[in-house]
């Protein structure tokens, strides 16, 4: 899905971590095992766009972001930022580009140095990247970053310590520190999950406004589908290191195609007590990414799995195409089996109108 003009292109990205071996394992020459945290992730992000990466913990959302940031090295695949392939750039050559990719962490109670004043927190990245030759020049950059993050007038906040700020203000300081470098890409890892409900919307609207300015794109990692549905343009649902559904946010929410997405959506509690979802609670949690099931990785928890799901590892494709099959050529020719009706709970019987969903992709043989 690489195309011209994308801010970020991630293609078949894989990241794995070695599992520590004991001496006994080594003596017995047992092969090293790997956690396949990111296992073939592809997506793109345009300037001015917000893409949400959703999924349960352990599904590889954060590993994906860390790989894009080059905090961990990709095993294979490519990361292209603003037209430049950064996957294997040396750290020295990466550094000037790294300025353009900034991260906002989940917990502003942990991510801000308690001994730093707001001024120092926002100044630090400028010093690291050698931006602003004089103190007054940096001061100006700091103030404008703070005001861009909604902390105006900046003078009111410059000399405060983190403990003198509310949770929402702290997260805004963290965002200001990222904005100080004028990034093109902002990775926000659960940016509001530690904040009070009353201020969450403010921080999310801030991120929303920043990307609508068109200067940057936002990749938001969240486990909250409601937040993703409200603020993101597109949603990528991850399961066990792979994107299993990807499409326009509203479409993924209103017409989910992957059984995992359907289950996730069915358990989102509704704020109206009269609306009782037919919650489809999957037992257990995401399986161990050391031993990813063969065939479709969701099969062991899937309510509609069929025999062939054990053999074919479906790749992302338009709904109804039966997945294009990353494992075998057979898969691409497998159409909709027509046995789906009984097990499906959402009302979209009939043949999928592929034409109307040019961007909606799903990795399921039966979707």
């Amino acid at each position: 899905m690489t195309s011209e003009g994308n801010l970020l292109d991630v293609a078949d990205l894989r990241t794995r971590y070695p599992v520590r071996r004991s001496i006994a394992d080594r003596l017995a020459r047992r092969p090293r095992q790997w956690v396949r945290a990111v296992d073939g992730v592809s997506f793109s992000l345009r300037r001015g766009e917000m893409v949400a990466l959703v999924g349960e913990s352990g599904c590889g959302k954060t590993s994906t972001a860390q790989t894009i940031l080059r905090m961990v090295e990709a095993t294979s695949g490519t990361i292209t930022v603003d037209g430049q392939n950064i996957t294997t750039l040396s750290q020295r050559r990466l550094r000037p580009l790294r300025r353009g990719i900034q991260m906002v962490y989940q917990d502003p109670y942990e991510s801000l140095d308690p001994r730093f004043r707001v001024r120092q927190t926002v100044e630090e990245p400028l010093l690291v990247h050698g931006i602003g030759t004089s103190k007054s020049e940096r001061e100006e950059l700091i103030s404008s970053a703070l005001e861009r993050a909604g902390l105006a007038p900046a003078a009111l906040y410059l000399n405060r310590y983190a403990h003198e700020l509310s949770g929402g203000q702290r997260q805004r300081v963290a965002i200001a520190a990222a904005l100080a470098l004028d990034p093109v890409l902002l990775l926000a890892d659960e940016p509001v999950s530690m904040l009070d409900v009353s201020v969450r919307a403010g921080v999310l609207s801030l991120l929303d406004g920043l990307r609508r300015d068109g200067r940057l794109g936002v990749l938001m990692i969240t486990h909250d589908l409601s937040t993703a549905a409200h603020f993101a343009d597109r949603i990528a649902v991850m399961y066990l290191g792979r994107i299993v559904e990807y499409g326009p946010a509203r479409q993924v929410v209103s017409d989910p195609r992957h059984p995992y997405t359907k289950a996730l959506l069915s358990v989102v509690p509704n704020r109206d007590p009269r609306v009782r979802n037919a919650a489809q609670i999957l037992s257990g949690e995401t399986p161990n990414p050391v031993a990813i099931p063969a065939g479709c990785r969701f099969r062991p928890r899937c309510p509609i799995a069929e025999d062939r799901c054990a053999d074919i590892d479906p790749a992302l494709g338009p709904p109804g195409s039966g997945g294009s099959g990353s494992g075998g050529t057979l898969a691409s020719r497998v159409g909709r089996a027509g046995q789906y009706g009984q097990a499906s709970q959402a009302g979209h019987a009939g043949v999928a109108d592929v034409a109307s969903y040019p961007d909606h992709e799903v990795a399921c043989l039966l979707a």
Binding site: E56, S57, S166, G167, G168, D196, V197, S198, V199, R200, A201, G202, V203, L204, S205, H223, D224, L225, S226, T227, A229, H230, F231, V253, S254, A263, L264, L265, V267, V268, P269, N270, R271, D272, P273, R274, R276, A279, I281, L282, S283, E285
Partner: protein
């Protein structure tokens, strides 16, 4: 008579530099057997302090007034001596972050068995009656029917472990898994274990502080499902403390919205959502993104007032969008509001709000 009646609960913390912080201000609510009651609000509004006060677990710099009546008896009347016999046996609590507070160097079943031995409670209440919990693992059952779980009495380690195993099954963990250590459990399993611990002495009321907060949506659904089943099958009454309105809407029959230490609106979850009376409740709902609603998500400007200074007028005034003149001078008291389902009707499901206006619940 209700199972639990909280009347005019107040908590003050004395501050190091002198002065007092009035953290809980006249909180009252009732709870019947099997009922699920939600306590919602922003952090610092007094939710957790309220339930810690009910458990008699506040630090020494706190002073408490008011009554917590369990089946008619005020358990706070005689200080620690009067709370202790009821703590865990009648009133139990799942602490916030309990799932992260398990002892990492002891296996799970041992940790659950320890309080059972100390409290000498190794039989399950008859109310369980051998009803079988169709826990998701399947086959978990409340082996209490015959009381044969070994009334080993105080100190019988084997009986306590057996009982701990039953509790694990009750919350959907195979007893055999209890031999594992907390780090071998997933977050959801640890939260289940924390709930099992709270149930060890067969309490009648469970106070759960943010039991689903740091959990994934699927695991959150598993845990709320478990809590609802415990209430329905064993008549356990639940006080669910959370900032998550949708969770309360789906789990609880009634709820109270707290702000700055006091309850500003209470009623059935249905009336709170469909005939909202307090602007704070309305704004909280508006701040909560809903999967299927298209309305804009709005944050609530400003911050709650300091509780170490007396507040004149309505504590929500600086953040309110429906202010009238009286709000600045007169503190609104919780009053029963006219609602579609019977104005001011006596009974459990009274809808009350602390707002001078009668129409502040709608769009301003």
């Amino acid at each position: 008579m209700s199972l639990l009646e909280v009347r005019d609960l107040n908590v003050w913390f004395s501050l190091p530099g002198g002065g007092e912080l009035h953290a809980v201000q006249g909180v009252s609510f009732d709870l019947g057997p099997g009922e699920r009651f939600g306590l919602v609000g922003e952090s610092g509004c007094g939710k957790t302090t309220s339930i810690l006060a009910m458990m008699g677990l506040l630090p020494p710099n706190a002073s408490v007034s008011g009554e917590v009546r369990l089946a008619g008896t005020d358990i706070l009347a005689g200080g620690e001596d009067s709370v202790r016999p009821h703590r865990w046996t009648d009133l139990a609590m799942v602490f916030q972050g309990a799932m992260n507070a398990l002892n990492p160097v002891r296996n799970v079943i041992g940790q659950i068995a320890e309080p059972i031995m100390l409290h000498g409670s190794v039989s399950m209440a008859a109310e369980g009656g051998g009803a079988s919990m169709a826990a998701e693992g399947g086959g978990a059952s409340m082996a209490a029917g015959g009381g044969g779980a070994g009334r080993g009495g105080r100190g019988s380690a084997a009986a306590a472990r057996k009982r701990a195993g039953e509790l694990l099954e009750l919350v959907g963990i195979p007893a055999a898994a209890g031999a594992r250590f907390p780090h071998e459990f997933s977050g959801g399993m640890r939260q289940r274990a924390a709930i099992a611990m709270a149930l060890a002495c067969e309490p009648k009321v469970l106070l759960a502080d943010e039991p689903t907060t740091a959990l994934d949506v699927m695991v959150q659904a598993q845990i709320t499902d478990l809590l609802v089943r415990l209430c329905e099958e064993f008549g356990l009454a639940l006080v669910l403390v959370t900032h998550d309105l949708p969770v309360v809407a789906q789990v609880c029959q009634r709820a109270a919205v707290m702000y700055a230490g006091e309850i500003v609106e209470t009623g059935t979850t249905d009336s709170l959502f469909h005939s909202t009376r307090h602007p704070y409740t309305r704004l909280l709902f508006a701040a909560t993104p809903d999967l299927y609603a298209d309305d804009d998500v709005m944050s609530i400007p400003g911050a709650p007032p300091r509780l170490d200074e007396p507040v004149t007028g309505c504590p929500f005034l600086p953040r309110c969008d429906s202010v009238v003149d009286r709000c600045a001078t007169e503190r609104p008291l919780l009053r029963v509001v006219a609602s579609a389902n019977g104005a001011g009707e006596a009974g459990e499901a009274v809808h009350a709000a602390a707002c001078h206006r009668d129409d502040a619940g709608g769009t301003p």
